[in-house]
Symmetry: C2
Subunit: 271 residues, 2 copies
């Protein structure tokens, strides 16, 4: 073992293995391993065993898939960064969120609240597009400078051609063509969730502004480490509610009811 | 007048005016003028007159929208470059077609045949994806190294994850999600035509390879000049059939029947 030593503060995210030989793996895009990455939860690993997920007090993972939690980042607020953090950091970073860029985040849930924090820390001007204004105060506290309700059709008129980048964290079907019209020339709308049903896309909405509709899935291991370092540097963690193991079923119901701000973290000492 | 002088060989493309003051115009993206560009055919110009199109022996156009036809490029084979040429050159160039890149062109018509010539001249490895193998010989002559029939489902299996860039020149509805699966990691499928109906896009096809579905509309004036210079340098013109004015109605019927290889050009001396 060369990457970590006993006693280091470390984390394991959504994947625990990949072929580590294909072009994507060698390029640090293990999540796109051409032979298939191995998910942390109930996936068949390369040796035929089934991965056991995060409801565990111990886990054995090859060091390549173990990242360092930098000092100054508490373990509990760091845990969701390994999924919601990297899932939003990766497209924000790749599509150039930063000073002078206008970024919209669709949906203010576990993913969305991280997207707002990260985009703001990158220096972008952040707008939240949420169904209602219910979480407006939260959105502004997290770093957004504007907050609009998408249930109001006026929002789409007012914001037409506004954003360089839209991160869509909503897994339900939304009217993608309407959101594409909110992009400026060469803007991109990146989905990080995947609705089960295909999304109807009006090609005019793309062609009329040289826009892109794209997708992104978590992030690679080097990028995950980069994200953790970025978060430590900017004092960013997830907003969490720590629960004991006995509350897992309650928490699950509350997740379904969108009653969490913004991620539950299980205290594994209680398992 | 400073850009051209009497006797110069010049051309006018799909647009004849724009505001020339907005960010997009100032950036050479006049086709995306924020106040609306003025099309060459039956559009209302900034002075209220209606543009008269290309069935003319003379046309008055402000010099900014007049491009130079380089020596060595015949006027007849250059004419379609001002539409089909720039429409395909722009996305090929912007999305990085060149040595080491695999480019697929969907549809081998007026736009497609230019996409093949241009992508090959840029040094990319070009594949044509056409409904049938009817025009295979043409495709290979134009510069493609492979040619596949999309009516054969095996094509989609065989080519999965193959292309860095796909230029879709087909304006009919095609199964975009199936074509997206042909892209490699970070690949882009760019539509240059716009079907009337929305295209259903499976978000998994995007997320599963960080892929983009994008659109592009003709090109700006500086880019059109760049394309003409590129064509002159590489000896590229459109494949055309020159017709006298009296054959316009016949030619129109033949276009509808896809019976043209690959563009009709009207000899305006016969008007």
């Amino acid at each position: 073992m060369t990457k970590h030593k006993v006693g280091d503060r470390v984390g394991v995210g959504c994947m625990v293995n990949s072929c580590r030989e294909c072009a994507n793996c060698l390029n640090g895009d293990e999540q796109y391993c051409l032979k298939g990455m191995v998910g942390t939860y109930g996936a068949e690993d390369r040796d035929g065993t089934i991965t056991q997920g995060g409801y565990s007090t111990h886990v054995v993972v090859t060091e390549h898939f173990v990242v360092s939690i930098p000092d100054g980042l508490e373990l509990d607020v760091a845990a969701p960064l390994l999924c919601a953090g990297i899932t939003t950091y990766s497209p924000l970073h790749r599509w150039g969120a930063g000073p002078g860029k206008k970024v919209a985040v669709v949906g203010l849930g576990g993913l969305g609240h991280m997207a707002v924090k990260l985009a703001a820390a990158m220096g972008a001007e952040v707008t939240v597009l949420s169904q209602s204004l219910k979480k407006q105060e939260d959105g502004l506290r997290l770093g957004a400078t504007s907050y609009f309700a998408t249930s109001d059709p006026g929002t789409f008129e007012q914001l037409a051609g506004s954003f360089d980048l839209i991160i869509n964290t909503v897994s339900a079907s939304i009217d993608i063509s309407a959101y594409l019209q909110l992009l400026t020339l060469d803007g991109a709308l990146v989905n990080v969730g995947a609705p089960a049903e295909p999304l109807p896309v009006n090609a005019f909405a793309l062609i009329g502004g040289r826009r892109s509709f794209a997708g992104s899935m978590i992030g690679g291991i080097p990028e995950t480490q980069e994200m953790l370092n970025f978060c430590a540097e900017h004092g960013i963690g997830a907003d969490i509610e720590v629960i004991p193991a006995g509350k897992i079923n309650d928490a699950y119901e509350r997740v379904l009811a969108s009653d969490v701000r913004y991620r539950f973290v299980i205290d594994t000492a209680t398992l």
